[in-house]
Amino acid sequence: MNPILRQRHTRSYILALALTLVSFWLAAADHAAHLGASGHMIWALVLVIAGIKIRLVLMDFMELRSAPLGLRISFEAFLGGIAVTLILLDLLV
């Protein structure tokens, strides 16, 4: 196999693509609703999947995986904070 295809960023790209298709299938194509998920659950699911994809971009495209831990944790914490805030706003407001 081409060495480029074996690299971590390629695996992350394929995973991010797959998660994109899954979230589209669940949310935009309404399959989650047909499976009984509420609007709140779909919103939370979409944001969690987005958060996972963004973490893949941060770690393996932007190379934060090998960055100083303070820098890496700052971005991961901010990402988690935004995702949680957006989910809580939907639930509590």
Partner: protein
């Protein structure tokens, strides 16, 4: 490319070696930019939660398939950019040039399709002043579009440096850092889009 950092990144032997990708300045810029976008996302989510019926009805004008195509285009573009810069580090200039061209191509396709989508909405009378949902949608996606446009210009610089490296060998250290910083900026465009896709195309 640069001394120890790039050498260990090329060999993949990071081990205990941790270095700031590119240079600190681009990370300050990225941090400020995602802070601003993050705040706008929170504002949008708050308004959406306050007026769920209005926002849900207003969001029917959004076509999720557009969002899916944009996401695939930008993720693929980012992959090509990572591969291009990685190839440049290993002095694999032909691969680097092919990948940067494809990365720019996919990014340009995103921008062109965005203009097409805007045109369709305007033709149907959907404007930023039509309702609050569309105001958020147009403002956030347009600001992102401006970032993407600037990112394409930065990728043009990367392409230029790849060609220069192929002709002259070693790039000056500052140019190396600028190439890597341009890559990081482009990936930031990608990650911001992932949230925009979720908020406006999926989470409506």
């Amino acid at each position: 490319m640069t001394a120890i950092d790039t050498d260990v990144r090329v060999r993949g032997e990071m081990g205990r070696v941790r270095s700031v990708p590119a240079e600190a300045g681009i990370w300050v810029f990225v941090a400020l930019d995602v802070l601003i976008f993050g705040w706008m996302f929170v504002l949008y989510a708050y308004q959406r939660a306050e007026h769920p019926v209005v926002f849900h009805a207003a969001s029917d004008v959004i076509t999720p398939a557009f969002g899916l195509i944009y996401t695939v285009l930008l993720l693929t573009s980012s992959w090509f950019i990572v591969t291009a810069i990685g190839s440049l580090r290993r002095h694999e200039h032909q691969v680097a040039e092919r990948c940067i061209n494809l990365g720019i191509g996919f990014g340009a396709a995103f921008a062109v399709l965005k203009v097409v989508e805007y045109s369709i909405k305007f033709a149907h009378g959907y404007l930023p002043v039509t309702n609050q949902f569309l105001m958020f949608y147009f403002v956030l996606t347009f600001v992102h579009f401006l970032h993407a446009s600037g990112g394409l210009i930065a990728l043009g610089f990367v392409r230029n440096q790849i060609r220069r490296s192929a002709e002259n060998g070693q790039l000056p250290r500052q140019n190396v850092q600028l190439v890597e910083a341009a890559g990081i900026f482009w990936h930031m465009v990608d990650l911001l889009w992932i949230f925009l896709f979720a908020l406006f195309y999926l989470g409506k």
